[in-house]
Each structure stands twice: as C-alpha cells, then as structure tokens.
C-alpha cells in the first residue's frame, strides 16, 4: 500500500478516536444546557425548595456546595503543598519515603465511597463531630490530598536540579531556593493539581453522603457543626428518591452544578496561565 494512503488512514483513525472521546461529552453537556436552561431562573438559584422540593429553588444546595468546596480548599491546600515540598525537596530517598509515595499514588485511585465510609467512621463517629460541615470538609480534604500531592510533586521535580544548585552557590539556603526559584516555576503545575482535586471534591456525592449532606434543609448553616444540602447529593436525591419530580428541576440542578464546576475550572485556568506567563526558561 502507498505510504501516503497509509498515513491518511492513520490520520483518519486518530481523528475518529478524538471524536469518539469528545462527542459524548459534548452531547451530555449540550443536553444538560438545553434542558436545564428551561428550569433555571433567578428564583431557581435564589429560593429555597418547597412543596416536596418540586417547587422553589436550590439555593441552600448551591451555598452548601460552595461552603464545602471552600472548606476543602482551606483544609487541603496548605497541608498538601507543604507536605509536597517536604516530600519532593527535603525527604531523603529511603524505603520509607518510597512507600509513602506509593501509598499516595494509590490513595488517589481509591473509590470515593471508601473515603465516605472512612469519614463516617473517623470524623462523624470516632471524633464525635456528628454529621456536620466539619466532618464533610475533612473527608473531602482527605480525598483531595493525594491528587494535590502527586500532581504537585511532579511539578516540583520538573524544575531542573541546576536551579537549586545555582541558588545554593549564590549563598542561598535550601528554603530560599525553593521559595524564590522552585515554587514560582512549579506554580502552574501545583495549581493544576489543586484544581483537579477540588473539582473532584465539588462534584462527588459519596464522601458527603454519610458525613454532611442533608436530604432537605431549607435554612442555611450557622456553624461548622451544622449539616448542609449539597448539589451533587441533592441531584441524586431528586433523581432517585423523590417520586414525581419534574425532569426540568433535575436538569436545572445538573446545569447549575456543571456551571459551578466549569467556572471554577475557568478561574483556575486564568490563574495558571498568569503564572505560566511569568515563567521564562
């Protein structure tokens, strides 16, 4: 066969694969946008649900998801980034650190329901936090940490060793090299890790199922020991637990969750490209 024909066939195959990957996502997003747009209104995003949740809005669930996401960020980013810096820059290469690394990579792949059950056992019951924002946030943070750590560690390791040597040769302490050279260079990668982790936390149902999510709770929380409604769980509830729920409400809820997650993604991408522009090597 002519090698150019072969090449064209190869390209065609690759294009088909790319389409097969993207098309279902576009269909899903498109469907949610078209169907969900019918339900979404100012009232839908600003009112509390009533009438067996078939009427009113989903305001408490939106607030709940925002609180959980911000809380997860607060709990996981400092620990995750600090831990990563230790692992990548300070820890010596021993069987111990290798085991820790292996564990982190594996933890990133554990099903979220396992984290949910761990959170129930550890925070809700053993530490007596009850079903609360605190327990939910900590559970989500534990699920997020491995993602943040494994992605950030890659980013730190991608910064050439020579920069650290040069910094040291100019009288810098190890920390100064990390602070002024390594971290700024690794920032886009670290932010990517944080985004990936937080997006997963924002959209998951299983970890919050037993630890924080309320079936129906029209008032907003007043303390970290209150429960909240959350969008992913609310979506699950109205799709499976409430008979006769109008489809439009389900689509509307899905659309709001989608927009929330996509806009977080967008903000993060802007931050990341800001840091990337400042990088020069």
């Amino acid at each position: 066969m002519d090698r150019y024909v072969k090449q064209r066939m190869g390209f065609a195959f690759l294009t088909a694969c790319a389409i097969a990957v993207v098309a279902p996502i576009l269909v899903v997003i498109g469907l949610i946008f078209i169907e969900g747009a019918k339900a979404v209104s100012l009232e839908f995003i600003s009112a509390v649900p009533y009438g067996g949740m078939k009427e009113g809005g989903i305001f408490p669930a939106i607030v709940g998801t925002l609180i959980l996401t911000v809380g997860t960020a607060l709990a996981s980013i400092p620990v995750g980034v600090a831990g990563t810096i230790y692992l990548a820059e300070y820890a010596r290469d021993t069987w111990m650190t290798r085991a820790i690394r292996l564990a982190i990579v594996n933890l990133a792949g554990i099903p979220s329901i396992v984290y949910g059950l761990f959170g129930l056992g550890m925070f809700v019951l053993f530490l007596h936090m009850g079903t609360s924002i605190l327990a939910g946030v900590l559970t989500l943070a534990i699920m997020t940490l491995p993602v943040i750590i494994s992605t950030s560690e890659e980013a730190l390791r991608a910064v050439p060793m020579e920069f650290r040597t040069v910094s040291a040769s100019l009288g810098g302490t190890r920390w100064q090299g990390i602070r002024y050279i390594v971290l700024p260079q690794a920032m886009p990668g670290i932010i990517t890790g944080i985004i990936l982790g937080l997006l997963r936390a924002a959209g998951e149902t299983a970890p919050i199922l037993f630890t924080v999510a309320a079936f129906y709770l029209p008032q907003l929380p007043r303390s970290p020991f209150d429960q909240v409604m959350a969008l992913p769980y609310h979506l699950y509830v109205i799709s499976t637990q409430v008979p006769g729920m109008p489809m439009s409400v389900q689509y509307g809820t899905a659309l709001v969750l989608l927009i929330l997650v996509l806009s977080m993604n967008l903000i993060a991408t802007v931050i990341r490209s800001y840091f990337r522009r400042r990088r020069q090597w």
Binding site: R92, T165, S167, S169, L170, G171, T173, I181, Q280, W281
Partner: protein
C-alpha cells in the same frame, strides 16, 4: 612563603565506592589564577566543588581531609555554608541564568543575603556587569529576560552574578566550554582584571586555555594530583612523564 588563600590538605573523596580524589594537598595563593587541568574523571571539578561545599548536596558521598579558607577549615561544624558560598563564588560549565530578568539574575544573591539598599544594589549591579565585560552590551535592557541573551552573554551574566556578592574566591568550572572564541577571549581577558581583586581557580576547557591564563597549574589524573607548579614552567618543562604526555597530546 606566600600566604595561601585556599589550602586542601590530604583530601580523599568518594562517590559511593569510587574514589574521586586520592590524598590531594595543594595551596592556592591569593590574587592569582590557579588552573586545575587534566583528562575527564581526574577529580578537578570535584575538588573545585569541595571548595564551596556544593558537593554537600550530593547524596552518598564521603570526604576525609581539610580544606582551609584563610586558615579556617570550611568543613568545621560552626561554618555557615550560605556565608561560605558568598565568600567563594562559582560559575558553572553551562551558562544557567535563573528565570527572570538580567537585573534579577545579578541581584539574586544580594536579595538572598538580605540587602535592601536600592542605591547600593544599583551600584553593585553596574560594577559586576562591567567587571564581567558585558555592561556595554546590555546596559539598555537590564529588565529583559536573561534567557534572551546569547550563550556567551549568558555566561558573562553568570560571572557577573557571582561577582555581585564580591566573593574572595571565584571558582570557574569550564566557564567557556559552550562559548565561541570571541566570547572566550572576553572572559579570559576579564579574568586577568579580576585576579587583582579576587583569588581565581579555574578548570579550563582546553590545555591552550590553561596555558594562557595560569599563574600556577595543577595536573590531575584519575584522582591523583600529579604535578603542581607555576604555569610558566609546567606547560614548557613538565617534570612528570604523564603531564608531558597529556600536554603534548599523547593521551586525553
């Protein structure tokens, strides 16, 4: 006898099980250019890196012996490594500008040392770039990225970056290996100026360069110091057969 700025005493150095230096002792006089030369793997770069303790960062290595700077062992417990490295600067084989502008590169070491005085920093910036023979070429674009410079300019920038700390000793590890002859010439010329102010130790990238810049030269072979004598003698009348073979190009 002339006062030695840097002295190595009975240095043995191991990377894992491999011995890179074998009982090496030598003294480097102040305000002169000392050359470490010899074939690859001879230990010259290792010795250079021991003088500002950069090899501390390499795991699984071992050293015996002492290295004295102004008669003080730099491997003593009470030595602050960061301050030592300010006194003993290093320029690497590959020009490696840090991310950021030309100005940021030259003043990086000052920032690390905690200098805040803007006037003083500006003074040092200009003085270092002049000493490294690059000021005229880049004085109008100090805030462009350092990576936009040519290879030869980058290497002189790296020299300026070390000079900004006003070190007492300047270590240069094949500083011209990636440079064209004209840039090489500029760097070599500036060494002759710089030795008035600093003590310079250089691993040259060729024997010709060694002969051009050396006040005294040390020949290293497989971890042994073979011969260490004034440059005017060692390159014309080497005493050791192995030095002669290397200089005349019979091996290496």
């Amino acid at each position: 006898m002339v006062e030695k700025k840097v002295s190595a005493e009975n240095i043995n150095y191991f990377y894992g099980g491999n011995q890179a230096l074998r009982d090496v002792s030598l003294g480097v006089p102040a305000h002169s250019v000392t050359v470490f030369f010899g074939p690859a793997g001879g230990g010259k770069t290792t010795l250079l890196r021991l003088i500002n303790r950069l090899n501390d960062m390499v795991e699984n290595t071992r050293m015996t012996g002492r290295i004295l700077l102004d008669n003080k062992n730099i491997y003593d417990e009470d030595v602050d490594v960061a301050i030592l490295r300010r006194r003993v600067g290093m320029v690497f084989a590959l020009p490696l500008p840090l991310p950021g502008t030309i100005r940021e590169n030259v003043t990086y070491g000052l920032k690390l040392a905690g200098m805040r005085d803007g006037h003083r920093i500006a003074e040092i910036l200009e003085k270092s770039l002049v000493q490294a023979a690059i000021w005229d070429e880049i004085k109008d674009r100090l805030d462009s990225p350092a990576s936009s410079l040519s290879g030869g300019q980058q290497q002189r920038l790296c020299i300026a970056r070390s000079l900004a700390l006003e070190p007492e000793v300047l270590l240069l590890d094949e500083p011209t290996s990636g440079l064209d002859p004209i840039s090489t010439r500029k760097v070599e010329d500036s060494l002759q100026e710089l030795k008035q102010l600093y003590t310079i130790i250089i691993v040259p990238h060729s024997i010709q360069q060694a002969a051009r810049v050396a006040d005294q030269a040390a020949f290293f072979l497989m971890g042994d110091l073979i011969e260490y004598r004034p440059g005017t003698e060692i390159f014309t009348t080497p005493r050791d057969k192995r030095t002669e073979d290397y200089i005349t190009g019979r091996f290496g």
